[in-house]
C-alpha cells in the first residue's frame, strides 16, 4: 500500500514537472503577446494624449449634440424614462465614430502600418492593442458625456451606477471591436470618414439595441434581473463573437 502510494506520488510529481515544463513556453508566449498588445495600446494613447485630435473632436461633438437635444426636447421625468438610453447611446455612437476613424488612419502617416506589419507583432496583437486604446478613449468620452447628460437632463444615474457601468463596459467593447476592424478595413479608402459609419452602424444594431434598452431600464430605476437579462446575454454574446471574428480576420484585412 505504502509502495503504491509512493509510486502514485512519483507519477503525479512527474506529470506536474512535465506540465510545468510544457506550460512555461506557453505562459511566456501569452505574456509576450499581452506585452505587445499593451505596447501598441500605450503608443496609441500617448500619441492621442499629445495631439488630442480625436478626443477633442468627439468631446466637442458630443457636447453640442447633448446641448441641442436638451433644448429640443422637454426633459420631463416620464419622457426621460423612454428616451434616455437611446439618446445616450446615439451620442456615444456618433462621437465614437470620430475616435474609431483615427485608429488606423494614424498608422498611414509615414507608412507606420508597414513597420508594424513587418514587425513580429501578430496582426491579432496589433488589433487587440488598438482596440484597448480605443476602448480607453471611448470610455473616457462616455464618462464625460454621462456627467453632462446627468446635468443637462436632470437624470440621477448614480442610483444604479454599478449595473450602468457594466452595461457601458459591455456595450462599448462591442462598439470598439467592430469599429476597430472596420477602421482597418477602410484605412486605404479615400472616403474613409464617410465609409466607416456607413459600414459600421448596421453591424452595431444588436449591441446598440441591447445597450439602449438596458440603459433606459437602469436610468428609470429598474435593476438588472430576469426581465432584462436577455439583453445582457446579447451584449456578452456580441462581444465574444465579434472579438473572436476580429482576431481571426484581421490578418486578411491588413495583409490580404
Amino acid at each position: 500500500m505504502k509502495e503504491e502510494l509512493s509510486r502514485k506520488g512519483a507519477e503525479l510529481a512527474k506529470k506536474q514537472i512535465s506540465f510545468s515544463a510544457s506550460s512555461a513556453p506557453l505562459r511566456e508566449t501569452v505574456f509576450s503577446f499581452l506585452g505587445q498588445c499593451l505596447t501598441i495600446a500605450q503608443k496609441d494613447l500617448r500619441a492621442e494624449w499629445r495631439t488630442k485630435e480625436a478626443l477633442n473632436a468627439s468631446l466637442a461633438f458630443s457636447t453640442v449634440i447633448l446641448i441641442l437635444f436638451s433644448f429640443a426636447l422637454d426633459p420631463n421625468p416620464e419622457m426621460m424614462q423612454e428616451f434616455s438610453g437611446g439618446l445616450l447611446w446615439l451620442v456615444f455612437l456618433f462621437a465614437g465614430a470620430l475616435v474609431l476613424n483615427r485608429s488606423f488612419a494614424r498608422e498611414m502617416q509615414n507608412d507606420c502600418l508597414d513597420a508594424l506589419l513587418a514587425s513580429p507583432v501578430p496582426p491579432s496583437g496589433l488589433f487587440l492593442g488598438k482596440t484597448l486604446a480605443n476602448y480607453a478613449l471611448l470610455m473616457t468620452l462616455e464618462f464625460i458625456c454621462l456627467a453632462e447628460f446627468g446635468i443637462l437632463f436632470n437624470v440621477r444615474w448614480l442610483a444604479n451606477v454599478g449595473p450602468l457601468m457594466l452595461v457601458m463596459a459591455l456595450g462599448t467593447w462591442g462598439m470598439t471591436v467592430v469599429g476597430t476592424v472596420f477602421s482597418a478595413l477602410t484605412v486605404n479608402l479615400r472616403l474613409r470618414e464617410v465609409m466607416l459609419p456607413v459600414l459600421v452602424y448596421p453591424m452595431m444594431v444588436p449591441v446598440m439595441m441591447a445597450a439602449m434598452i438596458l440603459t433606459t431600464d437602469l436610468l428609470a430605476g429598474t435593476a438588472l434581473g430576469p426581465g432584462n437579462m436577455l439583453w445582457v446575454r446579447v451584449l456578452v454574446g456580441f462581444d465574444v463573437i465579434f472579438t473572436l471574428l476580429g482576431v481571426s480576420l484581421i490578418d486578411t484585412v491588413l495583409v490580404g
Partner: protein, 235 residues
C-alpha cells in the same frame, strides 16, 4: 543555404498581373540589387518579401520559413519609402517602441545606442514632427537596424536621403555585409547598386528578365544590363 526563396510568385491587382511567375533564390550573405524601370514591380515584390502583402500565387520563404511567421519577421529589417515613425512620439519613444515590439531585452539601452550611432543623441527627447528631413531619415535607419536583422529589405534606400543619412546608411550596409547579412535593395541608382551588389535581379513589366551574379560588363557599363536584357527574357 538559401536566405530567400521566391517560387513562382504572381501578384494580381484586380485583373492586372503586377508580377508574373517570378522565381529566384538568394544565398545567405548576398547583396542583391533589385532593378527595373518605374512600375516594373520592384516595390510589389519587396512588399511580398517583407510579408506586407501576400502573393496571389507562389510562395516566398526566408531561411526556409514562411515570411508571415513571427520568428521570420524577427529576422527581417525593412526600410521602405516612408520613414515609418510616429510624429507625435520622441526619437527615443519611437525606437523603444520598435525595440519592444521586436522583443529586445533592454529596448531603452538599444535605443540610446542607436541614437548615438546615427548622431541623434542630442535630440533624443525631441518629437519627430519637429525633426528635419535628414534627422527623420537617420532615425528611420536606426529603426530598421535596432533589432540586428539578418535579412535587410530596402526599397530605394538612398532616394531623397541627405549626405549624412547616406553616409550612415552606407556604413551600416557595409557592416551588415561583413556580418554576413543578406541584403535586397531596389533602386534606380544603377552604378551605386551594381558596385555594392553581389547579385542582380532585373524585373521588366512584372517578369523576371535577369537573375544572377554581377558580371564585369555591368561594372564597366551599368546600362549594359538594361540594353542587354530589357528586350529579351532569360531562361
Amino acid at each position: 543555404m538559401n536566405a530567400l526563396e521566391i517560387d513562382a510568385v504572381w501578384k494580381y491587382f484586380g485583373d492586372f498581373p503586377a508580377l508574373r511567375d517570378i522565381g529566384f533564390t538568394v544565398q545567405s550573405g548576398s547583396v542583391v540589387a533589385l532593378l527595373g524601370r518605374n512600375g516594373a514591380g520592384k516595390t510589389t515584390l519587396l512588399r511580398i518579401m517583407a510579408g506586407l502583402a501576400k502573393p496571389s500565387k507562389g510562395s516566398v520563404k526566408i531561411n526556409g520559413n514562411e515570411v508571415r511567421e513571427e520568428s521570420t519577421r524577427r529576422r527581417i529589417g525593412v526600410l521602405g519609402h516612408g520613414i515609418s515613425l510616429y510624429d507625435e512620439l520622441t526619437a527615443t519613444e519611437n525606437l523603444v517602441l520598435f525595440g519592444k515590439l521586436y522583443g529586445l531585452d533592454d529596448a531603452a539601452k538599444h535605443a540610446h545606442q542607436w541614437l548615438e550611432r546615427t548622431g541623434l543623441e542630442r535630440v533624443r527627447d525631441g518629437l519627430v514632427r519637429e525633426f528635419s528631413r535628414g534627422m527623420r531619415q537617420r532615425l528611420a535607419v536606426a529603426r530598421t537596424f535596432i533589432h540586428n536583422p539578418e535579412v535587410l529589405l530596402f526599397d530605394e534606400p538612398f532616394t531623397s536621403l541627405d549626405d549624412r543619412a547616406i553616409a550612415v546608411l552606407q556604413s551600416l550596409i557595409n557592416e551588415a555585409k561583413s556580418r554576413g547579412c543578406t541584403i535586397v535593395m531596389s533602386t534606380h541608382q544603377l552604378r551605386e547598386a551594381i558596385e555594392l551588389a553581389t547579385h542582380i535581379v532585373l524585373i521588366r513589366k512584372g517578369e523576371l528578365a535577369y537573375a544572377g551574379e554581377r558580371r564585369q560588363e555591368m561594372l564597366d557599363d551599368p546600362t549594359w544590363l538594361y540594353r542587354t536584357f530589357e528586350g529579351e527574357s532569360v531562361s
